[in-house]
């Protein structure tokens, strides 16, 4: 049987510039793929482009087979239907990914009713349960809050809950912890770990952080300058990185401090005086 998501020879270009050269990978149910690379490597373009979420001037070619159908070849209406039912995206900056004009509850109601007809009351009940699932206390209370009333970590919990609300078979997370401060990152990482364990579908995590890959993913694609330079099960890549670039990235992980002696400032100049 073919995998749930099979990306085949996909390229992505903005205007005349091809930023992602033909690449292929696949994710199946129960797998967690990490797409790793530095800024500008094209990882976000791939992650969002494969589900048709590029900005207006972006164009994706190739074949993205999802549940047996090519996402890049279908009409906007069909694509919309698939997004409503089967795909969820966790955005990078949770504080900006929630519409500031609506309460958390209203956003749940919208998303749930886009998926299938249901009463507002039922949607709210479902939302409450979802919020509880991501470890939010007093969910009924939070449903009435506006996004600006939430802290960054709380907003990302809400985002995760929103994304799970439709029971997606594909969950895409674009830098899910990058916009959060360090203490919150650890909490969200724990949350993602438990959420992924419960999920029956496939997950793709776009990140620059090998630490996240190590904790969450089962397989990994390392991207550099629009190409996949190395791919394979996480354990293999970590144990024996084949590519020079992968070795370089891995050396930047904390615990490999011997390697970055030259790049570290002599004193902690950046430390705040207060």
């Amino acid at each position: 049987m073919s995998p749930l998501l099979d990306v085949n020879g996909v390229t992505i270009s903005y205007g005349d510039v091809e930023v992602v050269h033909p690449l292929s990978f696949s994710v199946d149910r129960g797998e967690v793929l990490g797409i790793v690379g530095e800024s500008g490597s094209g990882k976000t373009s791939v992650g969002l482009g494969m589900i048709g979420l590029l900005p207006r001037n972006g164009r994706a070619t190739g074949e993205v087979m999802f549940e047996g159908r090519n996402l890049l070849a279908m009409s906007t209406g069909e694509l919309r239907r698939i997004r409503r039912r089967s795909i969820s995206v966790i955005m990078q900056n949770p504080a900006k990914a929630l519409d500031p004009c609506y309460t958390v509850g209203a956003q749940f109601v919208e998303i749930l009713r886009l998926r299938e007809p249901m009463s507002r009351r039922a949607a709210r009940a479902e939302a409450e349960q979802r919020l509880r699932q991501v470890g939010i206390a007093a969910p009924a209370h939070r449903l009435k809050a506006y996004p600006h009333e939430l802290s960054g970590g709380m907003a990302q919990r809400v985002m995760v809950a929103l994304c799970l609300a439709t029971n997606p078979s594909l969950l895409v997370a674009d830098e899910p912890t990058s916009a959060l401060d360090v203490t919150i990152q650890a909490q969200i990482l724990e949350l993602l770990k438990s959420v992924i364990a419960d999920l029956s579908g496939a997950v793709a995590i776009i990140t620059h952080d090998f630490g996240i890959v190590a904790q969450l993913c089962t397989k990994v694609c390392v991207m550099n300058a629009g190409r996949i330079v190395e791919a394979g099960p996480v354990a293999d890549v970590f144990a024996a990185p084949q590519h020079e670039y992968t070795r370089h990235l891995l050396s930047l992980l904390p615990g490999h401090l011997h390697h970055d002696d030259q790049t570290r400032p002599a004193r902690d100049e950046a430390e705040s005086p207060i």
């Binding site: 589900i51 990914a97 929630l98 500031p100 919208e110 998303i111 007093a138 009333e149 709380m154 203490t183």
Partner: protein, 295 residues
């Protein structure tokens, strides 16, 4: 400052988390908003209550009382036909509010959908709409007014229509610009990722997040529209005598300016105060919506 609070880790989902911390950025009342809003309200009060507390008929001619100065019986004096200036002023303000509200309502009703459509639909639609509006924008408001008046005849309705048409392109532009900026926000992408359609994104997500600049613009336009309306009435393109109108009062009073200055000062000051009130209000609203940029 409390070093303790910053040093503590606050887990977001602690079991005992009560009401959420108040993170709402406080929007302070600013002087422009208070003065502009207060003045606007005061003028509205004059327009609404004036006719009730003042027993004079705004159109009753009394030759024996012509060009009397301000006194106990005529608060702001009388004009060249002996009509009470205060009641005419109050009626003039009522007309001014009608013109201001009417033009802005017209502009919003047509301009907002056009601007939103231009921002949401493809670049072809955008170009068609905006180029047509550009042509309209190239016409001076006064020429448009002459055009409208020759077609439907002079009067308050024609005035509202003329100024409304003149300002629709501006409102559409503001709407489009604001909506374009909103559409780049992450939550719009998030809505797309959930399968929201173009219409839903435009109406439910883009519009409510783009109205700030529009409200500011609308408030300023109320003042500008009245200024323009008074100008048109002054040159005979707007309200017809004997209907009380600030521009008309100014026009008919200018012959007596040297001997009885109040017949000009009163309507002139009235127009100035009205325009000032709504410009300040617009300014204040701008600061209210965007405290950072105003500093």
């Amino acid at each position: 400052m409390s070093l303790v609070a910053t040093g503590q880790l606050r887990p977001d989902a602690g079991p005992a988390s009560g009401p959420p911390p108040a993170r709402r950025t406080r929007r302070r009342l600013n002087p422009s908003l208070v003065v502009g809003g207060g003045l606007g309200l005061l003028l509205l009060l004059v327009a609404l209550i004036g006719p009730l507390v003042c027993s004079y008929d705004p159109n009753a001619v009394d030759a024996s009382a012509a060009l009397h100065g301000p006194s106990g019986s005529h608060l702001l004096g009388t004009d060249e036909l002996g009509r009470d200036m205060f009641i005419r002023l109050a009626d003039g303000y009522r007309a001014a509010f009608e013109i201001g509200a009417g033009t802005v309502a017209f502009g919003l009703l047509i301009g907002v959908p056009l601007g939103l459509l231009a921002a949401s639909a493809g670049s072809i639609t955008d170009n068609i709409i905006m180029r047509v509006l550009d042509v309209l924008l190239a016409f001076p408001a006064l020429i448009l007014a002459v055009l409208v008046v020759t077609i439907i005849g002079a009067g308050e309705g024609a005035l509202i229509l003329a100024i409304g048409i003149a300002y629709t392109p501006v409102i559409a532009r503001v709407m489009r610009g604001s909506a374009m900026a909103t559409r780049r926000e992450t939550f719009i992408d998030a809505a797309r990722s959930r399968g929201a359609g173009t219409l839903r994104i435009a109406l439910r997500h883009t519009l409510p997040n783009s109205v700030g600049p529009l409200i500011v613009q609308a408030s300023i336009f109320v003042g500008v529209a009245v200024l323009l309306g008074a100008g048109m009435s002054f040159v005979g393109l707007g309200v017809r005598p004997p209907t009380p109108d600030l521009g008309l009062m100014l026009a008919s009073g200018r012959d007596y300016m040297t001997t009885s200055p109040w017949v000009v000062i009163v309507p002139a000051a009235a127009i100035m105060l009205f325009a000032l009130a709504f410009t300040l209000l617009g300014d204040g609203l701008q600061t209210w919506f965007d405290p950072q940029r105003a500093r």
